[in-house]
Amino acid sequence: MSKTDVTRRGMLKTGAVAGAGLAVPTIFTAQSAHAFTNEPTGGTVTLGFNVPQTGPYADEGADELRAYQLAVEHLNGGGDGGMMPTFSSKELQGNGILGKKVEYVTGDTQTKSDAARASAKSMIEKDGAIMITGGSSSGVAVAVQALCQEAGVIFMAGLTHSNDTTGKDKRANGFRHFFNSYMSGAALAPVLANAYGTDRKAYHLTADYNWGYTTEEAVKSSTEAMGWETVAAVKTPLTQTDFSSYIAPVLQSGADTLVLNHYGGNMVNSLTNAVQFGLRDKQVNGKDFQIIVPLYSRLMAKGAGANVKGIFGSTNWHWSLQDEGSKAFVRSFGTKYGFPPSQAAHTCYVQTLLYADAVQRAGSFAPCAVAEALEGFEFDGLGNGKTLYRADDHQCFKDVLVVKGKENPTSEFDLLEIVEVTPADQVTYAPDHPQFSGGALGTCNNGA
């Protein structure tokens, strides 16, 4: 090792002398010489896919990555084009973005904000990524979004459900297609009132971190507006694996409904534990005891097995939707990988297409131009019906699915059935809604 060091240094010295003598002004460039960060100059453009590849969300990350690879294939004109033909905007030609071939780099967020930022930084600094996308948790999304704002690249959020991502932590360079806690609450409440009546006593178990807080608040306020009463809301440590000591006291409290504001492994374990305690066989206040999971993920529902049967929740998208866009996407994804895509895969695919389309319409990769093209953009044909990318907070407004665990699944993917498609109007809120207050978009940043 030492010997190569010496020779390398020697080589570099000669190189440096020669370089300095030849053309100092052109080779020694400060970064501000570019119009914006990582302006693509050659025939290719690089996107950064930052997904969890290790840790508890690795399977979700793997599905996101599949969707990204599919999207890149379609953008470059390969495959069957997926949702490009059904997309209402017809700007994308299948010849890359603005004629540049799409390439990508991948990174591992580890579902830790530090690691996710390190990974995103390396994509921006080393690989020249012009856009960062992905992630499977809100903490990571918020952290990477702030980083992209600072660095001057666009961030297209992956799976992030917390209100904060487009609420108090929103950024001008960040965009979210996925729905949020408020929308879950607003969509679920009427369905729950229909199914379970309006005089329920709810007991909340909430994962003790930001996403848990916003989800609890959203579900609480929308169910209370329906006439439900909240008996108690207990915070559970994120690292908890056995929830028995939190679930055991539920019946004693006189509650007849249990709301599990948990996601991922937390949700699998708390739901499994709750069913184990036989809560759903009990009668309280003359009513059948019920359990609700505000945010469903099919991948995670699989981990809970038969325990999800008959349990209500909400989801951003599901492969059994019958609109043209969804059908095209499921066909394309299913043919390539042999199983239907998850909601995480869907939102990531759509985000990539939306970004590419916005660049195409703006005619530039400059983040501010792209942001302007995305702001207030209305589109259809991407699986969620008519959708608006609201300019005020960079949140997509679209229909929300209320789903229920299926009683008789026909396959290992067929776990959820759609109960209702809540129209976008019903889940739309004012930009200054109290659950989203504090924080500001700021101005878009083109970087150096």
């Binding site: 000591s245 184990q276 309280v284 809970a304 043919t335 067929d414």
Partner: protein, 343 residues
């Protein structure tokens, strides 16, 4: 009152898992003097023995059902387990249903083999090395084991339910004269507690009442002297490592219906079980069991709503807080010996 009884039940149940893992850790530490960071991984491997057996039992061949469609609109492929062909549908389903208890038999030879291979292949070379090296190499092993499991089984949890006969919960309240539904506890968790009690009792009886156990205890107290007496203590210690691995593995098997197993469940338990061992006192078997139940019960009490309301966040830190208090008041944990692991 009812709330307190309930949390004691909870604590006993949680404590069972802690005690079983800590017992195995202490067995290894007490006999071989090795700090085994891969012990959580053994627990995880045990759980995946159950997953594997239920996969084997549900091994299927596919038949095409033209009446139903899959998600792409092609005819649905229906999986038919081979056990259905061999035993008929009813018996076959019953066998699949009992996969977890059956795994106990399946896991014992596997875990003993894993333990013996680990000891002979790796740990053996680390007896004379510093504890830090032991920690590092077993930690590396733990990472390798869990990544291998992740490669084959994915990162998501895999549901492995208990047999139908044990679903639902027992109403202690009604039995004790309280109102119904006040104190209910799942059957499977009650079984887990009973199972832990049997295993712990078995290990103690084995060490206390058999000649083999006596030699091992003598070896724990003074390895050199026992060796000088012409007894092959190394071989016995290898067997004890296998036993410790089996204890962790069986704890893992029985744990699968409580929480769906995933590849990092070993790491989740690792730190906690070390705290348990240290609070109990390094090298003390009764200490490990006592500390396991103590911490389980305290953790349950700390997660009561009434307690969290008074001291926010107490449920997050109770175990560590107790560990600090005990270590400061009792220098070597509850029942530790002087001079063990203090340098």
């Amino acid at each position: 009152m009812d709330a307190i009884i309930l949390q004691i039940l909870n604590g006993l149940d949680k404590g069972s898992a802690y005690a079983l893992i800590a017992l195995g850790l202490t067995l290894i530490f007490g006999t071989l003097g090795v700090v085994n960071f891969a012990h959580g991984a053994l627990f995880m491997i045990g759980a995946f023995c159950a997953v594997t057996l239920s996969r084997i039992l549900t091994l299927s061949h596919t038949i095409i059902d033209d009446t139903q469609k899959d998600f792409l609109g092609n005819p649905l492929k229906v999986e038919v387990p081979y056990v259905h062909d061999i035993f008929g549908v009813a018996t076959g389903d019953a066998i699949i249903d009992w996969a977890v208890p059956l795994s106990l038999l399946f896991a014992i030879p596997i875990m003993i083999a894993v333990g013996v291979i680990m000891e002979r292949g790796l740990i053996k070379h680390f007896y004379k090395r510093p504890h830090a090296d032991q920690i590092l190499v077993t930690f590396g092993l733990a990472i390798v084991l869990q990544e291998v499991i992740k490669y084959f089984y994915g990162a998501n949890p895999i549901p492995t339910p208990a047999p139908d006969a044990f679903k639902g919960s027992f109403d202690f309240g009604a039995a004790l004269g309280f109102d119904p539904n006040l104190i209910i506890y799942p059957y499977w968790r009650i079984i887990y507690f009973g199972f832990a009690a049997v295993i712990i009792g078995g290990v103690f009886a084995f060490l206390q009442f058999t000649t083999f156990g006596m030699v091992v205890r003598a070896g724990m107290a003074d390895r050199e002297t026992v060796g000088l007496l012409g007894i092959n203590i190394d071989r016995r210690f290898t067997i004890m490592f296998g036993v410790a691995a089996a204890v962790a593995g069986l704890a893992g098997v029985m744990y699968t219906p409580i929480n769906s197993p995933n590849y990092h469940m070993g790491m989740d338990f690792l730190v906690l079980s070390f705290v348990v061992v240290v609070v109990g006192g390094m090298g003390s078997l009764p200490g490990a069991v006592l500390a396991g139940f103590l911490l389980g019960i305290l953790e349950s009490f700390a997660s009561m709503r009434e307690v969290i309301d008074i001291i926010p966040g107490i449920n997050q830190v109770i175990i560590y807080l107790v560990a600090i208090v005990i270590l400061l008041t009792r220098p070597r944990g509850l029942m530790g010996r002087k001079g063990v692991m203090e340098d």
